[in-house]
Amino acid sequence: MTIDEKETISLLQNIISENPGKDMGIGVSGRETGSTRFANNAITTNGVYNGLDLYVEVTKGKKRGIAVINELNREKIKEAVARADALADVAPENPELMPALGPQTYPKVPTLFYKSTTEFSPGQRVDSIISAIDKGKKEKLTSAGFFETSSSFSAYLNSKGLSYYLLATRSYFSNTFRSSEEGSGWASAEEENVERVAVGKLAEDAVRKAIDSRNPRPLPAGKYTVILEPAAVADMVWYLLYNFTAREADEGRSFLSLPDGKNRLGEALVSPKVNIWSDPALPEIPAFPLGEDGLPQEKTVWIEKGVIKNLIYTRFWAEKMGKAPVSFPANIIMGGENHRLEDLIRSTEKGLLVSRFWYIRDLNPMILLLTGLTRDGTFLIEKGKVSHPVNNFRFNESPVNVLKNVEMISQPKRAVGGETGQSAFVPALKIKEFNFSSVSDAV
């Protein structure tokens, strides 16, 4: 469901003007999604989904109440405002509540909206899926996957004049091929423009992995040199940045904490080869240039040559610590070197090639120790060549160690993390001494 900018802003303006003198913010967002799911070489579910939400916040000094509804009639809107108002009355004062922002100027970013995606029909999704399934059938593989296209909008207006209207489309394709000989391959992509989703290539990649990973040989757990493909790197880097918050560090409850309420900002944390930043304007992985409470968001460097350059500072924490606010990453970009994945493999005497990770969870936040598993293709590399597939592993490892132990980096590409489901523009990494703690029998 999308409503055009003029109509949306007028709806929001009406609500604000009907409540003169109220410190309030109104947001409206809507989405229209079509998705098709397939398994065992056939479609299992196919649907069209619409959604709309109206968000109302009423602030009284340091007190705030929030109400959300999805019925846009006069009576319901009035009721939602009254509900948020009543909640603001009963809410105790929140000394950390920051005042609403006034009008902001946002940097220009590439469009996130493509008509081609909005016009993509259920029939076109099915055509693409049939073409992917056929590639697997030729190799006697069983396929499963998901194709989703959506359009969404989000608008906000507050009584101080902060206003924005965002329009985006998203296309996501994922496919898994499985062999009766214990092989499995996966590939996925997320793009704003459905025309950039190369279904044929994604199917070929997953089919090749499924074939190559057949009949895995046993290999014990232990520390290995690994080459992480970009999908695995995306998960590792996202987990690192999920935990890049200054407040937790300053409060002594993070791997970034130092004694006496200090944090590791400015410290050389990882290998000098590592550069990580966010930039909503990067055409390969554009994002909305908005951060917390509608703050503008431009390029933010997180790690430069291994040194922490920025942590996430909420508006409140920034003010308290005398810093400028830094919002949660709009996207993730990691710098690369002039190598291909094949070069990383060729340089490896003995190691493992990891296609993706799965089921990653925190084990110990004080060292950012994570656990998770490999999935859909794990291979032994011997003398610069992929030798044969091996069993999957559980890892107990920290992304900090991963980035400390980087030996070689490929050129970056846009990839979707298998666990986080979030895109990042990241390279493949060659890492020494990656800790696999046990073997998994899963295929």
């Binding site: 409850r253 084990l363 120790l369």
Partner: protein, 482 residues
């Protein structure tokens, strides 16, 4: 509602659907989050809409909308039929629904106090009071408490002739103390399970006493010694065993996973169809039930989202795997004549899929208390509450931590240990089950946010058990330095 529902069904039928159903749903949520001595969020949300499912030429189609109006219902019902038509181009086996009688019925959660009618001031006051009590304990840096109250009102109607109205209410309190000291930080949560209850759940607990205890234990945890790796007996309390059962039994015995329907996302299962009635899942003490009827459990309802009346069925009997979780369209794959009633959609805008019912462990038949079990254990570890959790995509290899873990030495609970987890293979682990406490010690726990499917859906389900002991489990350390 009946008139609107009939309009959807008539439209779908007239457009060529051989079966159709509609769910008109209204969800209400109240969320109160307090950090330290302040309330960070007070929110009240409402969500109303409908979804229509249709079968055309043996294929499913689905469409949904938030505009619950006659014209929109006709449009969406026609769209569901159109989408089903597109799906039928790639059909391997036509959908066949297991028969189910038509019902005209109403069902509601057996709550005593509607949480939405309790004054907000009272709820906010308690959240702040809990945090305040935690912060009184020296060494507590942060206290966080939230109360979530959730109502799901659903009206289901199908072309089979069912018209069922249900009103479900859930209460989910969560409170955590964060201690910081000597270069470490640890958390400890109050152990109160979420349930399908009203505000009486909140009132049944002495929160102030529990807040003090949790905060003191968080501080103890900071000072606790590091857990050491090795093989050890473990006693798991129901607050902990809940999640282990959920991951290693609940998901592994979902028929859609076993059939490969989840292969692209959540994964498949080692419990393949050839293992039905044969697989030795665990020791003879292991009796696992699938259940949509368990009073106050999170997965309980009068009917599932296929319109199947709630039922109870065996999943594992005396250690042998005997039954999958099924829906109307899955039952035939295991030659069942009826569905086990495990269809659920997390929203009016979601396609109902096979979701876990309450999956619980029957208590031991011989009288056995936790105290007796501990005194019978020479050396081991006692796990309370949920910690880190991870399991592979076929449900073999798992690793679980706890919210708090204590040593057991010579039949007595000893020191707390930190940064520790156990790692095992599902059938090895359940094979090592050698004691389950009796029914007086059984507790009704549950998981409030379980993800599955593409697009992802969230569900909730109960996993009750009595304290249980597992022999010689692999313990791993999660300690170390950066």
């Amino acid at each position: 509602m009946k008139e609107l529902a009939e309009l959807a069904l008539d439209t779908a039928r007239s457009k060529g659907a051989s079966y159709a159903d509609i769910r008109i749903c209204r969800y209400r949520n109240q969320y109160i989050f307090g950090r330290d001595k302040r309330i960070e969020t007070v929110a009240d949300t409402e969500d109303f809409g409908f979804g229509v499912r249709a079968i055309v030429n043996g294929a499913w189609g689905f469409a949904s909308s938030y505009r619950v109006e006659k014209e929109e219902i006709q449009r969406i019902a026609a769209m569901a039929v159109e989408v089903a038509g597109a799906s039928s181009r790639l059909l391997k086996q036509p959908v066949e629904l297991a028969p189910e009688p038509a019902y005209q019925d109403q069902w509601q959660s057996p709550i005593q106090k509607n949480p939405f009618k309790i004054p907000m001031e009272k709820k906010i006051g308690l959240v702040l009071r809990i945090n305040e009590e935690m912060l009184k304990v020296e060494g507590i840096k942060v206290a966080m408490t939230y109360f979530i109250f959730n109502e799901m009102w659903k009206y289901f109607a199908s072309t089979d002739g069912s018209f069922v109205e249900q009103d479900l209410i859930f209460t989910y309190p969560q409170s955590t103390a964060v201690a910081v000291g000597a270069g470490d930080s640890q958390t400890r949560s109050i152990q109160v399970p979420p349930e399908q209850k009203g505000y009486e759940l909140i009132e049944s607990v002495d929160w102030i006493e529990l807040a003090k205890k949790a905060a003191e234990e968080a501080v103890q945890k900071v000072k606790a010694k590091q857990g050491m790796p090795g093989k050890m007996d473990v006693i798991l309390l129901p607050s902990h065993l809940c999640l282990t059962m959920h991951e290693s039994i609940g998901h592994a015995t979902e028929l859609d996973r076993a059939l490969g329907w989840e292969a692209d996302y959540a994964g498949t299962s080692f419990v393949t169809l050839d293992k039905l009635g044969k697989l030795k899942y665990g020791s003879a003490l292991m009796n696992i039930v699938g259940d949509k009827m368990l009073p106050n459990a999170l997965g309980t309802a009068g009917y599932d989202d296929d319109g199947v009346r709630a039922r109870r069925f065996d999943i594992i009997k005396e250690g042998i795997f005997v039954g999958y979780q099924t829906t109307r369209d899955l039952a035939r794959f295991v030659n069942e004549k009826e569905s086990n009633g495990c269809a659920f959609a997390d929203s009016w805008s979601s396609f109902p899929m096979q979701r876990m019912p309450n999956v619980w462990l029957k208590p031991g038949e011989k009288p056995l208390s936790l105290e007796q079990l501990i005194s019978d254990t020479k050396e081991g570890l006692l796990f309370d509450g949920m910690g880190s959790f991870s399991i592979d995509h076929q449900r073999y290899n798992f690793q679980f931590g706890g919210d708090a873990v204590w040593e057991i030495k010579n039949g007595k609970v000893g020191d707390m240990v930190k940064n520790i987890a156990y790692q095992s293979k599902t059938t090895d682990f359940w094979g090592s089950l050698d004691a389950v406490c009796s029914k007086e010690h059984w507790e009704n726990w549950g998981v409030f946010g379980c993800g599955k499917g593409e697009p992802p859906q969230s569900a909730r389900m109960g996993h009750g058990s009595s304290p249980s002991r597992f022999r010689q489990v692999n313990i791993v350390s999660a300690g170390g330095k950066l």
